[in-house]
Symmetry: C2
DNA sequence: CTTAATATTAGTATCAGGTACTAAATCCAA
DNA sequence: TTGGATTTAGTACCTGATACTAATATTAAG
């Protein structure tokens, strides 16, 4: 665990990396790892502008708490900027690095898909289940740091079945297209 | 903010609920909210077995830290139980309540999709981008609390393009089917 | 009304993991 | 060898707690 003989520069670089990888390290643990005093670690953190453990935990907790809430199901993926219930809607998703492959920076399809699906659901004013999807196409890979604009349109409604088209564009260029078939739950549930 | 005149039972019930909804409340904030002393809040937490703020933050942070890592991109969605690189693979996803609509308990399509996509990517041993998908079908709605078994198979490889079929079953019944077209990045990137 | 049990509050010591600050010691190079 | 950079030491203080003791309020029962 001990890493002796590092220069200040080297230590600080390594420290930054280490905290980035594991934000839950105390100054004490870090001081043991680098074999320097706690004060040195604190000076390093000051110089690097790295907040204390509790702040780091707080931001991880809060960040992922809301992220998981909005990302893991509760709400819409992306920001709903326009909505004409039952007809159409627009959402914007800022694709960040956490949604992309680390090496290539290409955004994982599941996030693009999730934006499209959640928008499709948002335009239907009911509890829905996805029962059939067809003709999904990813036209261009998307790299992180871009704003994705999704447009959804209800093209047909037959009973409790809704046919929704979603197109996602990146600076005027279409990167995704998908047709979703949604079934409203209220009625569907009783058929079960 | 003040909620006077609650019995111990009522206050503890409400306290539990309140902390569940917002785990980042200090004892002090809670004592103001319920208009009781900090000690009372602490006794209540003891009796209810609710850990202190920092423990709550830690568990939220750690839980979601690893969850976001496995859910928001880094790794595979679901557990990889079998893998024949370049040929086929099997993963199991325990669909929990956080992946489902609150009201209906129906699992959001994006998670099923994510399981399929990440398995498709896992069987290809390269950095890939999703460039075209077709023929996705959700055959049955899935309710939370079930084990989804995904099977992927590479059906064709042409240059840097891989065609992967993924089928997801729930107790022998097919609930999802999708064909993914993946492009290996190394070569594709240079064409850019 | 009084008493006993229950519930609540007060207060102290202690802890972890820090901040902020001062001062001393050590290193390293010209 | 001297001076600046670097590191370490030490103190006071902070937050949000635990653990514990003791006192006070409230409530129900006799």
């Amino acid at each position: 665990m001990v890493r002796k003989g590092l220069s200040k520069r080297e230590r600080q670089k390594s420290l930054e990396e280490k905290i980035r990888k594991d934000p839950f390290l105390t100054d004490e643990e870090l001081s043991e790892y680098f074999d320097v005093s706690i004060q040195t670690i604190r000076l390093d953190r000051m110089e690097l502008g790295i907040p204390e453990l509790r702040e780091r935990m707080r931001s991880v907790a809060e960040g992922t708490y809301t992220r998981v809430r909005s990302l893991a199901g509760k709400e819409i993926i992306g920001e709903l900027v326009d909505l004409d219930l039952g007809k159409k809607g627009i959402s914007i998703l800022e694709a960040d690095a956490s949604m992309a492959f680390e090496k290539t920076n290409v955004v994982r399809g599941q996030f693009i898909y999730a934006q499209a699906e959640s928008l499709a659901i948002a335009v239907i004013d009911a509890d829905v289940a996805l029962i059939g999807v067809a003709n999904i196409k990813y036209k261009q890979p998307v790299t992180a740091g871009q704003k994705l604009v999704a447009q959804a349109e209800v093209v047909r409604q037959r009973g409790n079945k809704y046919f929704v088209w979603v197109k996602i564009k990146l600076r005027m260029q279409e990167v995704f297209r998908g047709k979703f078939i949604l079934v409203a739950m209220d009625e569907w549930e009783k058929e079960e």
